[in-house]
Structure formats: C-alpha cells, structure tokens
Amino acid sequence: MANSMIPAGDFRTSYAADTTIFPTVTSRNFAIAGVLLTCAAPFLFNEYWLSLLIQIGIYGIAALGLNVLVGFTGQISIGHAAFFLFGAFSSAYLSTKIGIPAFFAIPLAGLVTAVVGLVFGLPAARLKGLYLAIATLAAQYILLDFFARAEWFSGGSVPAMAEPFSIFGYALQGDRQFFYVVLAYVVVCFLLVTNMMRSRDGRALVAVRDHYLSAEIMGINLTKYRTLSFGIAAFFAGIGGALYAHYQLVVSYEGFGIERSILFLAMVIIGGLGSVMGTLMGTAFVVLLPEAMEWITAILAGGPIDHALGLKTNITFLREIAIGTIIIVFLVFEPDGLAHRWHQIKAYWKLYPFSH
C-alpha cells in the first residue's frame, strides 16, 4: 500500500525515488498491462482499425522526437516532416539499393537522419526562437527539393520502393504481423526518452529550455545541447519514417510538405509540450480526428447541415480547418495539452471528495 500511492504532498526522500521512471508500483503495473493489452489488438480489431493503430505508433515516434525538441528543449522546428521523409527514403535506399535487411536498415536510417538533423541543427546553436523557426522552414523546402532532385536516392518523381520487414529470414506479412514491430519500436523509443529525461542530459535539455543563462552558468554547454536535441528529434523522425517506409513499401515525397510538419506540431501541442505520454495521446487525437469527422459526416448525411455546408465533398478542407482551430483552442485555453487534462482528471478522483 505504501508503495502504490503518492501521498498528498510530494515527499521524495531519496535521489533514486526522484529519478524513477514510474512514480508508483501501480503506474508501472498499469503501463505493463497496457502494453500487454495492446499486444492482443491484432486479434480484437479489424484491418482498418489496426492500420490506424499502426499509424498512431509510427507518427507517435516521430512526434516524440519533436517533443524532445519543442517541449523539452524549447526550440522550434517547422521542418519535421522533411526529416521523417528523410528517414523513410534512407531506409528504402539502404534496404533495396545496398541490400541491408530492414531489421538493421531502420535503426541505421534513424542514425543517418540524426546526422542530417545535426547539420541543420547547427544554426540552432546560434539562433533562437523565431530565427530558428525560419531556419527550419528553409530546411523543409531545401530537403524536399533535394528529394525531388536526387534520383539516385529517392527516385525523384518515381516513388522509391522498400523491402518488406523480415526477421531471421522470415518475412512479415500483413498489418497483423507488422503491428508487433511498430509496438516494439514504440515501447523502446518511449522508454528511451523517459529514461533520457531522468539522466543528466535530459535535465540539461530542460534547463536550457527554462532559463538558458542559468543553465550556462551551471556548466551546461548550450551549443552542444541545442544541437544534440536537433539530432535526437531527427533520430526519432528517422525511425518513424523508416517504419513508415517498410509499412507502406513505397515512399513518395508527395504530401510531406509544410502541412505535414504543422500536423506534427499539432500532435505535440495537443498532447502536451514536455510530456512523453502526452505525445501518444496527441498523436492518437490527430490521427483519429479525420475518422471522427468522417463518422460525423456520415451521421449528418442528407440532413440540412449537410446541404448547407456540402460536408461530403469538402471533408479535406474541413479537416484542415478543424486541425488549425484545435491548435489555436489548445494554445489559448489548454497550453499544457491533453496530458495536463489527464492529470487533473486523475487528481480529481484520487483526492475525491476533498479536492482542496
């Protein structure tokens, strides 16, 4: 009992207690149960819902990288989609042109993307705030132009092919089997980041965000950590992109413009800046939002609202409007995102009926 609940105050008496991954035994058990339950998903859901889950996993990993950059380090990037795409193309290139099995190609693609991220992160060492936003905006255009041009790498206007994922010579087939690959990566990546955030490097990143002058006085190398966070962000974007490549088996640079980068930012903001689990919530929100809208459209079909707005034909625009509106609403009314809301709900029930 003593270990399974946090008392009303925050009584952490030892260093180990302060840096533990799971604050209570219950939360650890819930996390393990959650993962085990997700393992059963391929038997419970149909193909369509499974593909949505896979998408949440893939984009969630990429969004996690962005959250390290935006939420933890306080830098901004409007070019995350370009890094995601770079990971996808490099994994496709490594697996088909060089012949490295997909099992090794995915982490390799992450590393290659991390190197590219470090290169574009170099301006971050000197710039901050809006200057950095503009620099990453330029990175987005330059990288996308590179993909359109470099036929040896990305196939130019022809989409690049990727080998299917195989393990010990056994090629995985279909969404049901690929789901476990994504799940494994999600668990590993989220554990990696949670673990990193309680290490010296993770705390240094947060210090850089909160007050960079104090951080520098405390002996944190600003240049190193600013650039490093770009590398980490690009690494996870690359992993996500590589998984995307081996899931879709074809990669094209269509649809990875600035809108996609904004979508990644939306995931992070909706989920909660600086919250690891919030990232997953935000990604689920953004991935499921179009589905919810389709669903509402189907309900309203034929009704007066449908006639007035032309819902069916304009669904893509309505979706964009909804995304933009939700970002603004979250920024104005709930800047800490879904994770914060979730904590409040939990606290309400934990302290019920004496909430104050």
């Binding site: 301006p123 901050k128 330029a138 990175a139 600013r226 979706r319 933009g324 104005v332």
Partner: protein, 297 residues
C-alpha cells in the same frame, strides 16, 4: 548568353521583387509594432484577392468600387484577427505565438479552398491594352500597373510613418511600449491598427498578383517568400524589407536564368531564396539594416 531573355527576366524580377517588398513591409509592420511573427501573411493576400474576385465576378461590382470595398473589408478583418486570436497570446512564449499564426494560416487557407474551390480563377481584365512598349521591351500593362501600385503603397507607408500622428504613435510603441503608454498612446489600438494596415496593404498586393496571375491558393507562397526578404533586409527595418524583397525577386529570376541556360537542374528558381536565407542566418542574422541586438547564444 541570351541578353534579351536576361533583361526580360530581370524586369520580371524587379516587378515581383517590389511586390515581395510590399508584403515584407506589411510583415515587418506587424513584427515591429506587436512582436508577432506572422506566418499567415500570405493568407492575407489570398483572402484579399478572393474577396475582390468574388465582388467583381459574383456580384458584378466594377473594379473602382470593388477595390475600396475589399480594402475596408480587410481593414476590419485585420482588426478582428488581432482581437480574437492574437490578443489572448500577449505575454505567451514566442513559440506559442508562432504556432497560433501557423494554425491561422492553415485555417484561412482551407477556408478559402472551401468557399471558392481549389481551381485557379482568372481575374477579369482591367486594362484594355495588353502590353506597352518601353525602351524596346514589350512589357505587360499589368506589370507596369503592379510596379506603380507597389511604389505608391511604399510612398504612402513612408508618409504615414513620417508625417501622420498615428504613424508616430506606432513608431513610439515599436520603440518602447511602456513609454508609449505613459505618453497616452493606446497600445491596444496600435496593435489592432498595425494588423489592420498590414492586412489592407497585403490585400492590395494580393489583388495585384491576382490581376497578373489569376487567383489561386498559390498566392500564399508570397507569405513564405517574405522570410528570405525580411531576414535579408533585417527583421525590424521597413526600408530593409523593401530592399530585401527586391533583391530576392531579382535573385529568383536570375537563378531561373542561370538554371535554364547553363545548369539545367530545374526548380532552382524556387529554392534559391532559401539557400540565401540559411547563409544569411549563419553569417549575418540581423540582416542588412536590422538592429544588432540579437542575443548570441
């Protein structure tokens, strides 16, 4: 070396460049007065152009009436955007403010597609003669018009800031908000006013582009191209923005010439400004005329 083509492209660059300059000017206006980096500047062009187009095509309003109505509409629209979306963000971290304008651009972009469709629409012809001959070059009338309108807007802006009372209030606010407030200037009004003027000027630029190329969602590209221009000129310098715009316009067309004649890479026209942007950020982040108060970190 194809001199004829080069001159044609440079004239083209000058015309497009002055338009970039006008948009950059209205971008800097917002930045200077309210410290907001507006990623939705291009969408202001887009909204203005579509409104003017709808008035002329759907409601058969003649151009001389449609233009003032559009300007009044955009004036109110700018005030509304500032009041509804940006006022709650005062004092928030810069990342949040940037994200709000990015989200705003998504919303406006999609709303315009929703209302007016995705297909580009030609603007009804305004001039009777297609082109005029100038120093042996055939220049389209709309280009001459574009250049004249741009220069007129720049002159009007210069007059506004140098001579008028409101312009003075705006400069005072940009210089120091607290001091301005203590002198009886309503900072709230200045913020709203700067968005209103910026939106109006952008809308005029949008209509000019629409007259030349037709109305389509591609107009919002001007909002992206404004970044190389303002970074080159210096973020808080209006004269710098104008000059930066002209340089970027010329550079783009020169890149197209080099590309088409010698390199044959394709698409250099579109990315060249961004390479320039990165280089400037690396070596001279405050631009040609900007204040050198960027914190080096």
């Amino acid at each position: 070396m194809n001199t004829q083509l080069l001159i044609q492209l440079l004239v083209n660059g000058l015309v497009v460049g002055t338009l970039y300059g006008v948009v950059a000017m209205s971008f800097v206006l917002i930045y200077k007065a309210t410290q907001v980096v507006n990623f939705a500047q291009g969408e202001l062009l887009l909204v203005g152009a579509w409104v003017c187009w709808a008035l002329m095509v759907k409601y058969q309003v003649p151009f001389y009436a449609a233009m003032p109505i559009t300007m009044i509409f955009m004036f109110v629209f700018g005030i509304l955007i500032q009041m509804v979306f940006l006022r709650p963000m005062i004092g928030e971290p810069i990342i949040s403010v940037i994200m709000v304008t990015i989200a705003l651009s998504t919303v406006l972009q999609a709303a315009m597609k929703w209302i007016f469709g995705v297909n580009p629409q030609p603007f009804p012809p305004i001039f009777t003669s297609q082109s005029v001959s100038l120093l042996g070059l055939q220049i389209q009338t709309v280009y001459v018009m574009s250049l004249i309108v741009s220069l007129a807007m720049m002159a009007a802006m210069a007059w506004f800031f140098q001579k008028s009372k409101h312009g003075l209030a705006m400069r005072a606010t940009a210089f120091d908000q607290q001091v301005a407030q203590s002198l009886g200037i309503s900072v709230k009004n200045v913020f709203a006013m700067s968005w209103a003027i910026s939106a109006t000027v952008s809308a005029v630029a949008g209509v000019v582009v629409a007259v030349v190329n037709g109305v389509s969602s591609g107009l919002s590209v001007y909002g992206i191209k404004v970044f190389p221009a303002v970074i080159l000129g210096g973020l808080d310098s209006i004269a710098g923005a104008v000059l930066g715009g002209i340089i970027i316009g010329l550079l783009e067309n020169f890149a197209q010439f080099v590309d088409g004649q010698y390199l044959h890479w394709g698409n250099l026209y579109e990315v060249a400004p961004f390479y320039v942007l990165i280089i400037i950020l690396m070596i001279k982040p405050y631009g040609l005329f900007g204040t050198k108060d960027i914190e080096r970190v």
